[in-house]
């Protein structure tokens, strides 16, 4: 094989993935971007060929959208935080278990991914509804009924349930890389088990917690089915607004503009968070 052919081999090998990536992601994204600048006429629909900044101006001046973006981000941040708080100890306990329990419980953690998101959302709405199991249980103790369904609480609970595997897996992976002797070393130097966790184990799994929380935040911020089904018609998140603009208002350009703003905002939040946290651990953990 000559030098030229050898140089082009990596390109050929990655060509299928590149084609897929271009056709399925870059092209639709480009079309959406173009669409968001198109003029919209309520009577005639989208006017291709005529361009305007009207939709973006509308978005950035109407406090209605601020509220929805703000809600989307605090819900996502809260979901990411809860996932860190639940997922990290969960991954640690899992990594300490022996087979077959470890495999069985890992499967339980991954189980939400095996069930359709719509089915899961309906499941939660049955549990959390006014006549649901949760309120029934509260009734036994003389409490409630509490309104959970169609509130932010319902969305957060369901999102945490769905997102937990995305938190557990990265943390689990970084725990696997941990030298088991390191914990014993800390103990032998007089550290308590809690200090060992806090000072030795936790800093070493930080990269896993970081990537897990980024994945969870990103997925939660763009989630659609759960806020759509558990938030009801009035409690909107950005993705449900996009859906409404497209399918109910038929204002595709405005929907496209909202979607792009979400994408950019999401990217900005994730990149700055990544830079903030990763910088601290890059030097020591590589």
């Amino acid at each position: 094989m000559n030098a030229h052919a050898r140089k082009s081999t990596p390109w050929w090998l990655s060509a299928p993935a590149l084609v897929l990536f271009t056709v399925l992601l870059l092209v639709p994204l480009g079309l959406t971007a173009v669409l968001s600048f198109n003029v919209y006429d309520p009577a005639l629909g989208v006017k291709s060929g005529e361009f305007t900044l009207e939709h973006y101006i509308h978005l950035f001046t109407d406090s209605y959208y601020y509220g929805i973006f703000w809600r989307t981000f605090w819900i996502s941040a809260l979901v990411a935080l809860i996932c860190v708080l639940i997922g990290t100890p969960e991954a640690y306990v899992l990594s300490r278990m022996r087979n077959p329990w470890r495999s069985i419980l890992l499967l339980v953690v991954l189980a939400p991914l095996l069930v359709s998101v719509v089915v899961r959302a309906f499941g939660w709405s049955m549990l959390l509804g006014p006549e649901g199991l949760v309120n029934g249980l509260l009734g036994v103790f003389g409490l409630g009924p509490v309104k959970i369904l169609y509130t932010e609480t319902a969305i957060v609970i369901a999102l945490v349930h769905v997102m937990l595997p995305f938190m557990v897996i990265p943390v689990w992976t970084s725990l696997q890389k941990l030298d088991t002797g390191v914990e014993n070393a800390a103990l032998s130097l007089g550290a308590t088990p809690f200090t060992t966790l806090r000072r030795i184990v936790l800093p070493q799994v930080m990269p896993g917690i970081l990537s897990g929380s980024l994945i969870v935040f990103g997925l939660a911020a763009s989630s659609f089915a759960i806020p759509g089904l558990l938030g009801g018609r009035r409690l909107k998140m950005v993705a449900t607004v996009v859906y409404d603009e497209y399918l109910h208002e038929l204002n595709w350009p405005l929907g496209a503009a909202v979607a792009l703003v979400l994408l950019v905002a999401n990217l900005a939040v994730m990149l700055s968070y990544n830079r903030l946290v990763e910088g601290r651990y890059k030097k020591s953990l590589g």
């Binding site: 032998s188 550290a191 020591s284």
Partner: protein
């Protein structure tokens, strides 16, 4: 009362016995090695002393106090792990400082002690580096400094040199011993490398199948192995099967056509025995003289020595000759083999009776 005392220490994993009724007393300042092949229970013994494995039965006492069930983080022992187990997210200085921090030592004093410990292992210039920026030998030194800085009553070394290459390992052996002499810490080292155990220990505990089969000074372990296993595991040995024909002031043994007198007593006439001759104790002499006649089958050049495999009527014998400037023998050349009487050892042929052999 010795400083560290193991009495009947036993470890079961389920029904398998990993360590069986281990007795060991270590004096203050002593360097003791646990030597044996993998799976002999040496690491388990160390883990029990460290407090990472529960003792099934028996007692461990340190300086008169029973520590059998004490938690690992209250024993205060210094441990160097096989993988070093350095904290990868901390600098070298922070790694060494950790144990002092746990002891709530004031910062100024801590820094001084860390500097001293790093000076002891010649790592002052690397204090600000992270473990992954260091070589294997340097990491090893960090691990040693981290274990020593807390001034532990006992230092436990778990195969400390097994991850280093041969040349570095030899250097570190001597350095380890030097440092241990300097600070005078009682040390227990686990190793599977017999030359490592012999060169740096005051005493060697040879372990075999969960039992300590011989606890002796390195020289005695080598010269007076108690079992067939030890004689071949610690150094090389030619083992010749024979039978005791008479006992008197000396024991006479017949090995095929060869009859030898040895000093070792305690055998009955007619007992099946093994005569052990270390390769370096045997000499090649002119053909026709010596105890045995043979033909050089193979020869290996080892630099400072020649190793010959000589075919004789009683079997193949290994003979080590110093490379002292004389011409080496060729393969196929006839030669005689001789050895001084006092350099042979008699072992029972049957391993099961090994317990009763006088050391």
């Amino acid at each position: 009362m010795s400083f560290l005392q193991l009495t009947g220490v036993t470890k079961y994993y389920g029904t398998t016995c990993a360590v069986s009724a281990m007795n060991l007393s270590v004096e203050k300042g002593e360097f003791v090695s646990l030597l044996g092949p993998s799976g002999c229970g040496k690491t388990t013994t160390l883990q029990m002393v460290a407090g990472f494995e529960a003792v099934s039965s028996g007692r461990i006492e340190l300086d008169g106090q029973d520590i059998t069930t004490a938690k690992a983080n209250t024993r205060g022992l210094g441990i160097v792990f096989q993988t070093y187990a350095l904290f990868p997210h901390m600098t070298v200085a922070d790694n060494v400082s950790f144990g002092l921090e746990m002891r709530k030592m004031p910062k100024a004093e801590r820094q001084e002690r860390v500097a001293q410990a790093l000076a002891l292992v010649h790592l002052e210039v690397h204090a600000k580096k992270y473990p992954r920026e260091l070589s294997g030998g340097q990491r090893q030194r960090v691990a040693l400094a981290r274990a020593l800085v807390i001034e532990p009553p006992v230092l436990l070394l778990d195969e400390p040199l097994s991850n280093l290459d041969a040349k570095l390992r030899e250097e570190m052996q001597f350095e380890l011993r030097q440092i241990q002499r300097k600070v005078g810490t009682t040390t227990i080292m686990v190793t599977h490398d017999q030359s490592e155990a012999m060169s740096i220990s005051d005493r060697v505990v040879v372990m075999e199948g969960g039992r300590a089969t011989q606890i002796d000074h390195p020289h005695r372990v080598y010269e007076h192995p108690r079992t067939r296993f030890i004689s071949t595991f610690v150094g090389k040995a030619n083992l010749l099967e024979g039978r005791v024909v008479s006992v008197g002031s000396r024991t006479r043994v017949e090995i095929g056509p060869l009859a030898v007198d040895v000093d070792d007593a305690g055998f009955r006439p007619g007992a099946a025995v093994l005569l052990s001759v270390r390769p370096e104790k045997a000499q090649l002499v002119a053909a026709g003289s010596g105890r045995l006649q043979g033909v050089v089958g193979e020869r290996f050049f080892l630099g400072s020595q020649w190793l010959y495999r000589v075919g004789t009527p009683v079997g193949d014998l290994m003979v080590l000759s110093p490379n002292d400037g004389r011409d080496a023998l060729d393969e196929g050349q006839a030669a005689g083999i001789d050895w001084p009487d006092h350099c042979t050892r008699l072992l029972p042929a049957d391993e099961a009776t090994a317990e009763g052999v006088p050391a």
